[in-house]
């Protein structure tokens, strides 16, 4: 006696019904083996549609359901839940995709209907062989990992900590704060960035819920939502943090004459080999850069730093350390890299001293920067004229096609501050002003009123003539080419994905979109999630953003993460593989191919076995197993072959 099957054909309004003859599909279904009842309906996913199926399951004692409708990606979960509430095992469901794979891609109604019949016949054959599967529940680890401690990571960490969640915050740099720590004032309100930000960085260091690891990287992630096991590589700082008082005596003593370019100051000044990046750095501890340290790179130095350190904190013996943590959720907040203007050589960046990036100019503006907030040319004099060039590396087919969103406002904020501080003549060379945020357009108007010259034309090149920099462009509104002499050029460099974004994506198993930023699960409805359950995104690692948007996304990521871990337990898909111990020959091919390291080899019994909790059900082991010992629940050979036979037949 065959199982009793119910077949339901969805019209999806006219999406399916206009190309597939649903009525004839119903008649056809009734001829198929095992089918007890077949119906069509306008929208099966609607409440009345679902009620119809539910009623039938009871009335006809159905044991398997075939839904001919849209892609299982859309509504498989909906209908599985329906089966569950109707008392049927949710895995006794099969969906024939007659929308994306049939009605949407065909024009001829007759042919489309024939194809739909085949798909339906195969689905019925398969559902007859499907078995009830039981979901397992596993506990969720309560800690949350945050990767990157810029404004996004810090905001997420503090939000989580205030909820009492345990946070592991990993930062690659020796200090936290990321790019925001480098900023002087923020647009459009001109708040002092460090005044609003330093309290947050200090709070991160103080909050006992937050375990902070600087100079560290996440190098490995195993497991799955609720149960990630992460490996963190802690690079040596060569300074014992428990002893270092942050006094800075070591920096004074370091004998490295030329020094190394300060990363924090965007290469505009040198730092010593042992250094504290900036006075408000958190943690306020010295670190040694092994590349520039004479002792660590060449083995030769009189070690004046050791002598100078009263706390005896310097430890050249420190080694790289690997630590492991178990977390329930992960927030990735790795930020952005500034576009490198060397890639557009027409702007003379790297050729001329006074051609700067916007981030370098930000350091000039900053009271803690290399000029203590004075806008000075390399020779120490004041600029009489400054040009700001928009869209450098953004909206450019030769660099990045996207708009970096923040640079227009950055340029205008910097123009305003430059005007205020120097009274210089200021030119903004722009294509369009993208002032999209709250108070942004008003700021644009204000800057115009201040007498800054807006020239509607993109800077084409920068060269030097008679000692001054010349910006070549066209005033497109007048239609005349022009060459403007200035003393300083500030390039409105765009935001790009981190240079190592691909590596990070691989570590976490997430994807990048074509712009190389990390890809969200859905561009509109799930902008914080990734396709990997339990991994969330915050800030510029997902795409260029200003600070308000970054903070909003970080708070959202924190909310998603905590609502996940607070569930306490999570259901694990039973579509996993298993290995028949009677058939396993112990060849270990499956162990090698398994992408989630879910298969262990038992040396004693000389056979492999699957950890069902780690298994993602990809089926690679089942495909590669030469002795057919590895099998995949819900995708057994019997099920797949029956489906293929009906499709081919």
């Amino acid at each position: 006696m065959k199982k009793a099957i119910g077949v339901y054909v969805c019209h999806c309004g006219t999406n399916i019904a206009s190309t597939v003859d649903c009525e004839s599909l119903v008649l056809f279904s009734k001829t198929l083996p095992g089918v007890r009842i077949a119906r069509d309906y306008r929208y099966l996913c609607s409440d009345p549609g679902q009620d119809l199926i539910k009623k039938d399951i009871k009335e006809f004692s159905l044991e398997g359901i075939v839904i001919a409708a849209c892609s299982p990606r859309m509504h498989e979960i909906t209908f599985r839940n329906l089966l569950k509430t109707a008392g049927l095992n949710p895995y006794c469901l099969n969906i024939a995709n007659i929308r994306e794979q049939c009605s949407w891609v065909h024009l001829n109604k007759g042919e489309a209907t024939e194809k739909a019949k085949q798909l339906l016949r195969a689905a019925v054959a398969r559902v007859l062989r499907q078995k009830a599967l039981e979901t397992k529940k596993v506990e969720i680890k309560p800690s949350i990992l945050i990767v990157g401690a810029g404004i996004a990571g810090i905001q997420a960490a503090l939000t989580l900590a205030s909820e009492g969640a345990r946070v592991i915050l990993v930062e690659k740099a020796p200090y936290i704060g990321g790019h925001m720590a480098q900023l002087d004032k923020t647009f459009p309100t001109l708040d002092c960035a460090s005044c609003i930000f330093t309290p947050k960085t200090v709070e991160v260091a103080r909050d006992e819920h937050i375990e902070l690891h600087v100079l560290s990287e996440v190098v490995g992630v195993k497991g799955y939502v609720g149960n990630f096991k992460v490996s963190i590589k802690k690079n040596p700082t060569y300074v014992d943090v428990s002893r270092c008082t942050g006094c800075g005596d070591c920096m004074e003593a370091c004998v490295l004459k030329k020094g190394a370019l300060s990363e924090f100051e965007e290469g505009m000044v040198a730092r010593k080999a042992i250094y504290i990046a900036f006075p408000q750095a958190v943690p306020l501890k010295a670190v040694i850069d092994p590349k520039s340290c004479l002792f660590l790179s060449l083995g030769k130095c009189k070690k004046s730093c050791v002598e100078a350190c009263k706390a005896q904190a310097i430890d050249f013996e420190q080694k790289e350390e690997m630590i492991e943590r178990e977390v329930g959720a992960i927030i990735i907040a790795t930020g952005y890299d500034l576009f490198d203007p060397h890639l557009l050589p027409q702007y003379g960046y790297g050729v001329y001293d006074n051609v700067l990036t916007n981030l370098q100019f930000e350091r000039l503006l900053s009271p803690s920067g290399p000029t203590r907030g004075e806008i000075l040319l390399k020779d120490g004099s004041s600029p009489k004229a400054i040009a700001f060039l928009h869209c450098i590396g953004s909206r450019d087919e030769n660099a990045n096609p996207y708009c970096s969103r923040v640079c227009c406002m950055v340029s205008m904020k910097q123009a305003h501050l430059a005007k205020e501080k120097t009274g210089a003549e200021i030119y903004e060379f722009y294509i369009d002003i993208n002032a999209f945020g709250k108070g942004y357009q008003e700021f644009y108007k204000r800057v115009r009123e201040e007498g800054i010259f807006f020239i509607r034309g993109k800077g084409s090149e920068v060269f030097k003539r008679e000692g001054r920099l010349v910006v070549s462009a066209e005033d497109t509104l007048l239609g005349i080419p022009m060459e403007v002499s200035v003393d300083m050029v500030v390039l409105g460099a765009g935001l790009t994905a981190r240079h190592d974004a691909e590596k990070v994506a691989q570590v976490f198993g997430i994807n990048q979109s074509s712009d190389r930023f990390f890809m969200e699960a859905h561009p509109k409805l799930r902008p914080v999630a990734t396709p990997v359950e339990g991994i969330f995104l915050a800030g510029c690692c997902q795409g260029p953003k200003d600070i308000p948007d970054t903070v909003a996304q970080a708070s959202a990521a924190a909310a998603e993460a905590i609502s996940l871990v607070r569930k306490g337990e999570i259901e694990v898909e039973p579509i996993t593989s298993w290995i028949d111990p009677e058939l396993c020959s112990g060849c270990k091919l499956c162990v090698e191919i398994c992408p989630t390291s879910a298969i262990q080899f038992n040396e004693l019994k000389r056979i492999s076995s699957v950890n069902e909790v780690l298994c993602k059900g990809c089926g690679a082991c089942a495909a590669i197993c030469p002795s057919k010992a590895a099998r995949q629940n819900h995708f057994t050979q019997d099920q797949i072959l029956s489906e293929v036979e009906e499709l081919a037949g």
Partner: protein
């Protein structure tokens, strides 16, 4: 072939233009002619009036391609210029000097209308293989100016001297050599270009060489980028000389203390990315101190010799770029303004004379400098 200007919008990707003016801002003749690339793109976009194409500035463009290379939107600016010129050529509306150059090329295989029989006069005292009669590994494609122009012939002779000394197995096409067509295409005669393309491709394939070396960056550009069926590797001679110097096949011994600067030919540098090789050669010349001009490499200023401008007059006014360059080189203290392109050599040398700087600076091709140092 009938050309309909209405298809230009699609053919040259004009719809994506955001009118940012990067093209006009970087144009080397922006102050020397009414040529405004941005405006022409927009006007063509909305072309309703055929008189648009009668504007003389369509002929001012040197096809240096700075505009196309920098365009953030991917508009094919220079191709639009060539499309319009092709349209005009089909209508018979080209400037008379251009028409002569095109007819000459059709009849004699070179734009100056010199006799084909005299194409290898420059080589009569040299022992060079003629391919087709003899075989060789390398085709040394001489080109029109280096074959006929008495000043430029010295580059050809210099290179033969260098190649022979290095023991390269090379030959020339002799009287069968015809114009590569690079400037022909840029003067708008696409049909003639296609003929040259076909003839040259067949000829070169038949003689069975493994490599091609060109003198002119214009020939280099044509063979490398515009001869789709020519799959033999093509080198500009500077690329070859670097290799000969680095492998010790030639040894440069002679030289006196000379400050030298360099003009990047647009078709070599900007358009084909060959920036390093000429500089490496100049820096390794005995006695030479090499200094860069302010505008170099991707920011180099076009000499205005390309795109058919060798055969036009009167579409620009004011001080020539070549003069600006020569004066800049002179201010820099350079005694030699080096280049690696026949057209640059001619325009710059002319500018030295018109600027009255003949006693202060000379223009030399890199090949000449190397040959002199051997």
């Amino acid at each position: 072939m009938k050309i309909d200007p209405k298809t230009f919008v699609k053919d040259y990707n004009l719809l994506v233009c955001i009118q940012c003016g990067t093209c006009t801002g970087g144009c080397p003749v922006k102050f020397r002619s009414p040529l405004n690339m941005r405006r022409l793109v927009r006007q063509t976009h909305f072309a309703s009036d055929p008189s648009l194409f009668k504007k003389p500035e369509w002929w001012a463009c040197t096809t240096c391609s700075t505009c196309s290379l920098r365009c953030p939107a991917g508009v094919k600016n220079v191709e639009l210029i060539l499309g319009v010129r092709n349209y005009l050529a089909n209508q018979g509306e080209v400037p008379s000097t251009i028409r002569e150059a095109l007819e000459n090329t059709l009849l004699h295989g070179n734009p100056w209308g010199r006799f084909r029989d005299r194409r290898i006069d420059w080589a009569k005292d040299l022992d060079i293989k003629i391919l087709g009669e003899e075989t060789a590994e390398i085709l040394f494609f001489v080109g029109c100016a280096p074959s006929y122009d008495p000043r430029v012939q010295n580059i050809s002779i210099s290179l033969v001297k260098i190649f022979s000394m290095a023991g390269l197995d090379f030959g020339i096409l002799g009287k069968k050599e015809s114009c590569c067509g690079n400037e022909i295409r840029r003067m708008g005669e696409q049909a003639l270009f296609r003929k040259l393309l076909r003839d040259n491709t067949n000829l070169i394939k038949k003689i069975g060489v493994k490599r091609i070396i060109t003198i002119s960056p214009h020939c280099y550009n044509a063979f490398k980028n515009e001869y789709p069926e020519l799959t033999i590797p093509v080198y500009h001679y500077t690329q070859v000389l670097v290799d000969l110097i680095e492998t010790g096949k030639i040894e440069m011994r002679n030289g006196s203390e000379t400050p030298v600067t360099y003009q990047d030919p647009c078709f070599l540098g900007k358009q084909n990315g060959v920036f390093e090789e000429p500089r490496k050669i100049l820096s390794s010349l005995p006695g030479v101190t090499f200094t860069e001009m302010e505008r170099s490499r991707e920011r180099s200023l076009c000499c205005e010799g390309g795109g058919g401008r060798m055969w036009t007059e009167g579409f620009t006014e004011g001080i020539r770029n070549a003069e600006i360059r020569v004066r800049e080189a002179n201010r820099l203290g350079a005694k030699v303004l080096a280049t690696s392109c026949p057209f640059c050599l001619l325009t710059l040398e002319d500018a030295v004379k018109t600027s009255g700087l003949s006693d202060q600076i000379v223009v030399k091709d890199i090949a000449e400098l190397v040959a002199d140092s051997l």
